[in-house]
């Protein structure tokens, strides 16, 4: 039989990368990987690796692809290749309930504390664009949310979907500004020089979108959010 397609991901970002209650991999990226492998005629193997291990695994060929909610940036593209984007989202804000801020511009003041998750594009944005505010870099998303809900931080810069969910879970202590102030794209990570696979992945993504595969994935995992976003007037992303 054909060589398995090994896909690395950190199963800690529901509903994209996660496990079901019995511990089996599940989520948007898992289904995407499965469908991709099927179209290539290869069995799929999901390698659950924490973030720090993903890049070396990809670069040393221990995995073929990384599908792990990775945002493509030019800087990252110097180290690994990215496929065409499969998802667009944007950075937005989770604020503490009594924060007067109306936009990201209101936050760039001395004495304001802005939480970001380590290594995210939100972190990158804060480092480059927020000159006066104090940036709190946190290791865990949950800790960042806790900081905002305990009032230790004024805002948390993160992607739209997660911000929406975090707000839903802490609606008593937080509010959300879901309008994105920076657009960004998620893509599949591929080892540099592995152009054959890159071509295959891009072809698959194009075909998958045309066939409505992403629509189905959205309905399967993100129905409620999709509807809510439609109601609020934001474009949806898959």
């Amino acid at each position: 039989s054909a060589k398995p397609l090994i896909v690395g991901m950190e199963l800690a970002y529901p509903p994209f990368e996660m496990t079901d209650t019995s511990g089996k991999p599940a989520g948007v990226s898992v289904d995407l990987a499965t469908d991709l492998a099927k179209s290539l005629g290869r069995p799929v193997v999901i390698e659950n690796t924490s973030f720090d291990g993903l890049i070396p695994a990809l670069k040393t060929g221990k995995v073929d692809l990384v599908i792990s909610s990775m945002t493509a940036t030019p800087e990252r593209a110097k180290s690994i290749d990215f496929s065409d984007p499969y998802l667009s989202t944007g950075l937005c804000l989770l604020l503490k309930k009594d924060s007067p801020a109306k936009s990201i511009a209101d936050l760039d003041r001395a004495g304001v504390k802005v939480a970001v998750k380590k290594g995210t594009t939100g972190h990158l944005y804060a480092t480059n664009k927020l000159k006066k505010a104090t940036v709190l870099v946190l290791d865990k998303e949950s800790a960042a949310v806790l900081e905002v809900s305990q009032g230790k931080a004024d805002a948390f810069i993160y992607d739209q979907m997660s911000t929406y969910q975090n707000w839903q879970r802490n609606s008593a202590t937080t509010r959300a500004l879901l309008e994105p102030f920076q657009k960004e794209y998620w893509a599949v990570g591929i080892r540099q020089g592995n152009d054959e696979l890159k071509r295959q992945v891009n072809a698959f993504l194009k075909d998958y979108r045309q066939k409505g595969g992403f629509e189905q994935l959205g309905d399967r995992y993100l129905k409620e959010m999709k509807d809510e976003f439609k109601r609020l007037g934001y474009s949806f992303f898959l």
């Binding site: 800690a12 970002y13 496990t19 019995s22 695994a57």
Partner: protein
């Protein structure tokens, strides 16, 4: 008051023990219940309960890995301590280099390099094997220095005595040195074993699905940080407490007047 004091023979009445433990428990409970009551936090234990399977699987993996690493690291620590005391210079320096470089660098980096560079070059692909070896290599460096300091605390006159009755070097370690240092080594070794168990969590970086990783995943799925981490702490305690109890027993067992 007097019954709360231990006399020089170390005898303690049962009643005093119970009352004292009660006092301690009271104090600790007071602090934490105050802290938790101050916390306006919507507990969500239901979500966690759904994922109990993941906790159990991760815990079992951690048990297996730590048990293996415990044994290997003890062996490695022992050999390194002996090499460090060997008469052969290159062996000494090798063990020094090993100890310093391992203690000096983060386990995270060691795991990355050993798995993605070294094991990769030698064609070893089994991540559990590499994981256990890396963990053992890491802990072995710490253990070796503890063991060495224990060995060196044996008085010269004891070693001379061992030579005088005609024991070989190996017999001296076996019958004279180790039995005397065991008791003194037990408390720090226990600590190091507890560390191994907890450090095994870093193996998640090479896709070993252990306890902490699973708890963090559940946390990510359910957004219930404290609810995920409290069972995590409990799970580790469940592993380390028996070791601690065994170590106290060993300490008592090897106690003799000097």
């Amino acid at each position: 008051m007097k019954q709360f004091l231990v006399n020089r023979d170390g005898q303690v009445s049962l009643a005093a023990t119970i009352v004292s433990w009660g006092l301690v428990a009271l104090l600790v409970c007071a602090v934490f219940s105050f802290a938790f009551s101050e916390l306006r936090y919507g507990w969500n234990w239901n979500a966690i309960w759904q994922y109990r399977q993941k906790f159990v699987q991760g815990w079992l993996m951690t048990v297996a890995i730590s048990a293996a690493a415990l044994l290997v690291s003890l062996l490695l620590g022992l050999l390194t301590a002996l090499a460090r005391r060997s008469a052969l210079l290159p062996l000494r320096y090798l063990s020094m280099l090993y100890v310093e470089s391992v203690r000096g660098t983060p386990l995270l980096v060691q795991i990355l390099i050993l798995f993605y560079v070294v094991a990769n070059a030698f064609g070893v692909d089994n991540r559990y094997l590499v994981g256990v070896l890396t963990l053992s290599l890491f802990a072995g460096a710490y253990l070796s220095e503890m063991i060495r300091s224990g060995i060196e605390s044996i008085r010269d006159s004891q070693l001379e005595s061992a030579r005088a009755i005609g024991l070989t070097r190996a017999q001296t370690y076996r019958y004279v040195i180790f039995p005397q240092v065991v008791r003194q080594l037990v408390p720090p070794l226990t600590g190091q074993f507890a560390s191994i168990i907890k450090d095994s969590s870093l193996l998640s970086i090479i896709a070993v699905s252990e306890f902490t990783l699973n708890a963090q995943e559940v946390n990510a799925f359910t957004y219930s940080t404290l609810e995920s981490y409290l069972p995590l702490a409990a799970g580790y305690l469940l592993l380390t407490l028996p070791i601690s109890l065994a170590s106290r027993a060993l300490e008592r067992r090897f106690h003799y007047a000097t």
